[in-house]
C-alpha cells in the first residue's frame, strides 16, 4: 500500500518532469517529445524515492544504477535530474545546443547522474546486464534499472541480452519496457508486430509483470515492488504507456517521436498539466 501523499508527490513530480522536458525541447524548438513524455511517470517513481541515490553525490558508490537504453528519452531524464538538484535548472535550456552537457542521447561522460551512455538501440540492455552482473560477482546489493523502448525490442541484441540476463539470474536488474506502441515510422503493430511482450519475456525466463496503465505512478510503483520481491528470476515490467502521455496535443498526434514544440504549444501543455494537477488535488487524488 502506497501512502496517498506519496502518490500525490509522484504525480506532481511527473507533471514537473513533463513541463521541464517540454521547456528544454521548446528552447531548441524540436526534440524527442513522445518517448520522453511516456516515461515521465516511471522516472517520477524511480527518482521520487524508489531508487537509492544521492543527488549531491552523483557517483556515490552504493547508488542504484539507471540505464536509459532508449537513449533518445534523455530529455525526460535530464528534467528529473535537474528537479532533483543534480545540476542547475537553467542547464536544461542547453539541451542539444552547441557544446552542451545535455546531448540528445544520454551520455555518462557528459551529464552528472547519467550512469551509462546509450543511443544505439539495443545496447543499453547489455550494458545494464554488465553492471548488474558485476554486482552479482561482487556480492553487492543494489538494483540496476534499465528502461527499454518497445520499438527497441526490434533489435536482436535485446534478445541476446534477455537470454544472458535470465541465464545468469540477474534479479538485481529490473527491466522497464516502455510499451507505448509507437516507433518512429508508425505503430509497433504495423511495422514489425511484437505480439505479447509479456509472454516473450516469460518465455525467455523472466518474471514478466504487466502494467495496464504505465502512466499511472501507483501501478508503476506496485510493479517495481513486485519485481524487487522476485528472488529467483530477473523481472521485466511491461509498462503499457501512451506516446506523448500527459499532454493531449502529443497524445493525439500520429507521430510525436521527434517533433517541434512551439512557445504556444509549451504554454498550452503547461496549462493542461497544471489544470490536471489542480483537478487531482481537488479530488484528493
Amino acid at each position: 500500500m502506497i501512502e496517498p501523499d506519496k502518490l500525490k508527490e509522484w504525480k506532481s513530480f511527473a507533471a514537473e518532469i513533463r513541463k521541464k522536458l517540454l521547456e528544454a525541447i521548446a528552447s531548441k524548438g524540436v526534440g524527442h517529445v513522445g518517448g520522453s513524455l511516456s516515461i515521465a511517470d516511471t522516472l517520477a517513481v524511480l527518482y521520487g524515492g524508489v531508487m537509492n541515490i544521492d543527488p549531491q553525490n552523483p557517483n556515490w558508490e552504493d547508488r542504484d544504477y539507471i540505464v536509459i537504453s532508449k537513449g533518445h528519452s534523455g530529455p525526460a531524464m535530464y528534467a528529473a535530474l535537474a528537479l532533483k538538484g543534480y545540476f542547475p535548472m537553467e542547464m536544461l535550456k542547453t539541451l542539444n545546443r552547441n557544446g552542451t552537457m545535455l546531448p540528445s542521447h544520454t551520455d555518462r561522460k557528459k551529464t552528472p547522474g547519467v550512469d551509462m551512455t546509450t543511443g544505439s538501440l539495443g545496447q543499453g540492455i547489455s550494458l545494464a546486464a554488465g553492471l548488474a552482473f558485476a554486482d552479482k560477482l561482487n556480492g553487492k546489493n543494489r538494483y540496476t534499472y534499465a528502461i527499454v523502448g518497445d520499438g527497441e525490442l526490434d533489435e536482436g541484441q535485446v534478445w541476446e541480452a534477455a537470454l544472458f540476463i535470465a541465464h545468469r539470474k540477474l534479479n538485481n536488474l529490473i527491466l522497464l519496457i516502455d510499451a507505448n506502441g509507437k516507433q518512429l515510422d508508425g505503430t509497433t503493430r504495423e511495422i514489425c508486430c511484437l505480439g505479447e511482450i509479456e509472454k516473450k519475456f516469460e518465455a525467455f525466463g523472466f518474471h514478466a509483470i504487466r502494467v495496464a496503465d504505465g502512466n499511472d505512478v501507483e501501478q508503476v510503483a506496485d510493479a517495481i515492488g513486485q519485481a524487487k520481491s522476485e528472488q529467483k528470476k530477473p523481472s521485466a515490467v511491461v509498462l503499457h504507456t501512451v506516446k506523448g502521455a500527459g499532454v493531449s496535443h502529443y497524445e493525439a498526434m500520429a507521430n510525436c517521436h521527434s517533433c517541434g514544440v512551439s512557445a504556444q504549444e509549451l504554454e498550452d501543455a503547461c496549462r493542461e498539466l497544471d489544470s490536471l494537477r489542480a483537478a487531482d488535488n481537488r479530488e484528493g487524488r
Binding site: 547489455s126 546486464a129 560477482l137 541484441q157
Partner: protein
C-alpha cells in the same frame, strides 16, 4: 610421436601465451575477468575456466551482447578481456565496440584471434583482412597486432593495468618468436628489430617474420635494411615513422591485412604530412579471403618475404 607432440606444443604457443598472461593477470587482480563467445575450445582457454571459474564466463554465441556486458562490467569496476575470432570481434560488433566501448569510455580488451591468413581453413568468412580498417577510426581505441609470445605475455599484463579500450589481433598458433624473453615494450612505441640505412620495412603481426626474412635477403644483395615491428598500429608511433623515413629515405610497410585502412595507411598518413619519401604498402590487394593454408594465402595475397624484397628494391631505386 614425441616429435609430433613437440611440434603441436610449439604450434600452439600463442594461445598458450594468451592463457598464461591472462591467468597471471587474474591472479594479480580478481577484477580481471574473461568473457568468451563459445570459442574457449578453439582458443585453448579451458585451463583459465578451470583455474579461475569465478572470473571466466562463456556467454554463448552472442558477440554483440558480450561486448555490451563487458563494457557495463568495466563501468562497474571489472577489467574484462573478451574473445572471438577476429572477424566477429571487430566487424560484427563494430557499433557495440564503438558506442558501448569507446564512446562510453569503457575498459575492455577485445581479443580477435586469427587475423588474415591465420584463419586458413576457416576461410574467407572468418578471415579478417579489414578489422584494422574498420576499427582504426574509432577514437580512443588502441590496436595491437601481435605474433610473438613474449610480446603477447607482456601486452596482456600491461593491458590489465591500462584503463581503456584495446583491440588485439593475434594468430592462435604457428608463430616464430622475434623477441627474447623479458623484452620491455611500451604501447605506442614501435620496436627497431634491425638497424639499417637504405630502406625501412615497417611491419606488424605475422609480417614481422617476413620482413626479417626479406631484410636478410636484401642484405645479401647489398641493401642495408632497418626493420621495425609496429605492433601498436594505433596510435601509430609517428616519431619512429618519421625517424625511419629521414634515416633511410624509403619505406615499405608489410601487414597481414588489406592494403587499405591498416598499417600501410597509417604510415602513409604520417609520411605524406611530415616526411614524404618513396613508399610501398605490402598487404592483401583489396580482395576477400578464402580457404587455404598460410603459405598459399600469403603467396596469393602477395605478402611473402619475396614480395617485400621486390617492393624494397623498387623503392630504393626510386630514391633521389
Amino acid at each position: 610421436m614425441q616429435d609430433q607432440a613437440e611440434t603441436k606444443k610449439k604450434e600452439n604457443i600463442m594461445r598458450e601465451a594468451f592463457a598464461e598472461g591472462l591467468m597471471e593477470a587474474m591472479k594479480r587482480n580478481r577484477d580481471v575477468v574473461y568473457l568468451e563467445a563459445d570459442l574457449a575450445g578453439a582458443l585453448g582457454t579451458g585451463n583459465v575456466f578451470k583455474r579461475y571459474p569465478e572470473q571466466s564466463f562463456n556467454v554463448g554465441i552472442m558477440e554483440a551482447n558480450m561486448m555490451g556486458v563487458a563494457a557495463g562490467m568495466s563501468v562497474n569496476g571489472k577489467i574484462p578481456f573478451i574473445h572471438s575470432f577476429g572477424a566477429f570481434a571487430s566487424r560484427r560488433i563494430a557499433d557495440q565496440l564503438y558506442l558501448s566501448g569507446c564512446y562510453n569510455g569503457a575498459n575492455v580488451k577485445v581479443m580477435g584471434s586469427d587475423p588474415g591468413v591465420a584463419a586458413e581453413t576457416n576461410g574467407g568468412t572468418h578471415m579478417p583482412l579489414e578489422d584494422m580498417g574498420v576499427l582504426r577510426s574509432f577514437p580512443g581505441l588502441t590496436i595491437l597486432d601481435i605474433a610473438d609470445t613474449n610480446l603477447m605475455l607482456s601486452a596482456v599484463g600491461k593491458m590489465a593495468e591500462t584503463y581503456g579500450m584495446f583491440y588485439v589481433r593475434f594468430p592462435r598458433k604457428g608463430v616464430i618468436n622475434y623477441y627474447e624473453e623479458g623484452t620491455k615494450f611500451e604501447f605506442g612505441k614501435g620496436m627497431i628489430l634491425r638497424e639499417g640505412t637504405d630502406i625501412s620495412i615497417i611491419a606488424c603481426g605475422l609480417e614481422v617474420q617476413e620482413a626479417l626474412k626479406a631484410a636478410g635477403e636484401l642484405e645479401r644483395k647489398g641493401v642495408s635494411v632497418q626493420v621495425v615491428d609496429m605492433f601498436t598500429v594505433k596510435p601509430i608511433d609517428r616519431d619512429l615513422v618519421i625517424e625511419c623515413a629521414e634515416k633511410t629515405g624509403a619505406v615499405v610497410t608489410a601487414e597481414n591485412h588489406n592494403r587499405i585502412g591498416g598499417l600501410g595507411s597509417a604510415v602513409a598518413e604520417v609520411l605524406v604530412e611530415s616526411c614524404p619519401v618513396p613508399m610501398q604498402r605490402i598487404g592483401s590487394p583489396d580482395v576477400f579471403g578464402e580457404v587455404g593454408d598460410r603459405n598459399f594465402l600469403m603467396k596469393k595475397f602477395g605478402i611473402t618475404a619475396g614480395d617485400i624484397v621486390e617492393a624494397a628494391l623498387k623503392m630504393v631505386s626510386r630514391k633521389v
